[in-house]
């Protein structure tokens, strides 16, 4: 395959990954690394580098569209970014120390968790919970535009959420993904933040988290321009398209479909990692 053909194929696949990633709030990175390493036979370290760069593009490119809808909460984002950026530095340092087999296995496990937690039902009854003192002190509570007017929410379990965010940052730095699933898990499930607020705030945070480990990757030679170029341009186009149709989309069916794809990729990654093919 020539570089031109390769670039076009990778760009097209990245566009689809970016589109689905933006629509589900799970990010394109989670399918990009398996896609590049399993189907395009790229060394997983180059795949991780290109994916991480595209994760920044996904996050930043979609941010303007999300902001206009008024879903994201800038204070929740900034407070939790302390955890995610510190975790990201740790993860990026780990990547240069562990074997590619280990990275593939961890990747497979993370994919399975992403699929599982994206299928976990959300309780609609937990709408009117009293404010948590710590969340109030940190000015984390907010409101967002719902179908029947503005709806306010009270953030819960701040320390648990912060700890999960540190883990999400570490996985982001280790695997070159946005860790959208774990960020949404921390906000939606642990901190009881409404799903749309969680996904958009998570999207906002992903770019900052990835920027923390991108410097480490660049300095270590993991970011190849020939690979990062088609991946970044494709994912960016896909994610901007996705952000335009997010508000109208039915997240339920998208999450179902996407989690099935993730399970299949997880099995492949585990198999390749355990058998030493990656």
């Amino acid at each position: 395959m020539s570089i031109l053909e390769f670039s076009l194929l990778v760009c097209g696949s990245s566009l689809i990954a970016g589109l689905v990633g933006a629509l589900t709030g799970l990010g394109g990175g989670v399918v990009l690394v398996p896609l590049l390493s399993l189907f395009f036979k790229v060394d997983i370290r180059y795949a991780i580098g290109a994916s991480l760069v595209s994760v920044i593009a996904t996050s930043s490119g979609a941010a303007a569209a999300y902001v206009k809808e008024g879903f994201s909460n800038i204070r929740i984002g900034m407070f939790l970014e302390i955890a995610t950026t510190l975790g990201a530095l740790l993860g990026a340092h780990l990547t240069t120390r562990v074997s590619t087999h280990a990275i593939a296995i961890v990747f497979g496990v993370v994919l399975l968790f992403s699929a599982y937690f994206s299928r976990k039902p959300r309780s609609q009854a937990e709408r009117n919970i009293p404010p948590d003192p710590l969340a109030t002190r940190l000015h984390l509570n907010g409101s967002f535009p719902d179908v029947d007017g503005p709806r306010s929410y009270n953030v819960q379990h701040v320390p648990t959420g912060w700890g999960l965010m540190f883990g999400a940052g570490a996985l982001s730095g280790l695997l070159g993904i946005g860790s959208g699933a774990m960020k949404v898990l921390a906000m939606d499930q642990a901190m009881k933040i409404p799903f749309k607020v969680s996904t958009t705030t998570s999207n906002f945070m992903i770019g900052v988290t990835a920027a923390a480990s991108a410097g480490v990757y660049l300095n270590r030679g993991y970011i190849d321009p020939g690979l990062a170029m088609p991946v970044m341009l494709g994912v960016l186009a896909g994610s901007m398209l996705g952000a335009k149709i997010l508000v109208k989309a039915q997240t339920k069916w998208l999450r179902l479909g996407f989690s099935l794809v993730i399970v299949l990729l997880a099995i492949e990654m585990l198999y390749h990692g355990l058998s030493g093919r990656i």
Partner: protein, 126 residues
């Protein structure tokens, strides 16, 4: 509760536009570099199977800028990617002023911590 109505929304709008401008500029630079790279090397066989690590001129800020100034495709792509990495860093820097304007000292401190971690990742790990 701090004032979180129009100022917050205004800051978020500015931040959103800043991010989009940064990403579009970086995409433009990457596209230009990509075009040069594909015109010069597009017909060559692809090889990303083996990990070699990037050469020094494609992994340091100084090397990337020198390569880009020599109009090398790969150098220009890396320059675009550097711009992309700088975009969220700029958004965090801007947030420091945004929170300061709202007299929210706690969030100025939080944002400064995030900013320091980002700078360490970019310059402290070379």
């Amino acid at each position: 509760m701090p004032p979180r109505n129009w100022t917050d929304q205004r800051i978020e709008n500015i931040l959103g536009n800043l991010l989009r401008a940064g990403v579009l500029l970086s995409a433009l630079v990457v596209s230009i570099g990509g075009a040069i790279y594909l015109i010069r090397h597009g017909h060559e066989p692809v090889n990303f199977r083996a990990f070699r690590g990037e050469p020094a001129n494609l992994r340091s800020v100084r090397g990337i800028i020198r390569d880009a100034l020599e109009l090398r495709g790969q150098g220009i792509i890396q320059l675009g990617l550097l711009l992309l990495i700088a975009t969220p860093v700029a958004r965090v820097a801007f947030s420091i002023f945004g929170f300061a304007e709202e007299h929210d000292g706690m969030y100025v401190v939080f944002t400064l911590i995030v900013f320091s971690v980002l700078l360490y990742g970019l310059f402290g790990t070379a």
